[in-house]
Symmetry: C2
Subunit: 137 residues, 2 copies
Amino acid sequence: MTDGPSPRRSTCPINAALEVLGDRWSLLIVRDMLFEGARTYKDFLASQERIAINVLANRLTKLQGVGIIVGERDPQDGRSMLYRLTAKGMDLVPVLMELSTWGTRHEDGQPPNGLLDAWRTDREGFMKNIRIAATAH
Amino acid sequence: MTDGPSPRRSTCPINAALEVLGDRWSLLIVRDMLFEGARTYKDFLASQERIAINVLANRLTKLQGVGIIVGERDPQDGRSMLYRLTAKGMDLVPVLMELSTWGTRHEDGQPPNGLLDAWRTDREGFMKNIRIAATAH
C-alpha cells in the first residue's frame, strides 16, 4: 500500500515507540488529556506551551491514525470534536511519569504537588486512578 | 545571555524533559550508549536505524550542551572522540525502558530477550547493573 505507514528503521521497541510518537507535541497532547482532562481544540490551545493550531491539527490526526486517541463529534455541538485516549494512549502514562521524574530532577521542572510521590509509591494505584478519571469525563 | 538556552515554554517537567531531549535521535543515541556500549562515531553509525552523520554530529553536540553526555579525545587516537553518559544521562534509563515496554506491547517492537522482565521485576537492580556496565567500558 502506498499510503500505509513507512517501514520501521529497526525492530527495536524504543525506536518503534519514538517513530510512532514523533515529536514532543504529541506527548504534550497526551499529557493534557491525562492530567487536565483536555478533550477539545480549545482545551489543547489553552495549554501553557501554546501549541500552534496547525501543529495541533496535524498531531491530532496522527495520534488518531496510530490509535492513541479517538475523536468523535460532540453530541452537544455537531461542529466540534471531542477527543479521548484509547487504552493504548493511556499506556503512555509510565513514559510521561518517567519524563516528569527526569525533568524534575535535572531540568528544574515543577510537577503538581504530590504527583511524583504518588507515582513512585504506588504505580498500579496511580494507573487505576488515571483510568477512572479518564472514563469519568 | 544571547547564546543561552531559549526560555522554556512552561514549568511542566514533562515539557522540560521533551524540550531538552528534542527529537527521537537523541534518545536513540542514549539507548546505544546504555545497551550497546556505543562510544564513538563509528559505533553510532553502525546502529540499525542508520542515523545520518550530520544529524549525529548535531545531536552529540546538543547532548553535550545539556550535560547528558561528555566527550573526550581518545587517548589511543587523538583524532577521534569517545563519548560517555553522565549521571544525568543514565537517569534516562526509566524513560527508555517505559518506551520499550510501550513499543513492545503496542507497536510490535522486539526487545532483547529478558530485558523487559528484568526491568519489571527489579528496577533498582536493573539500574545498578546498567551503571556497573557503563563504568566498565
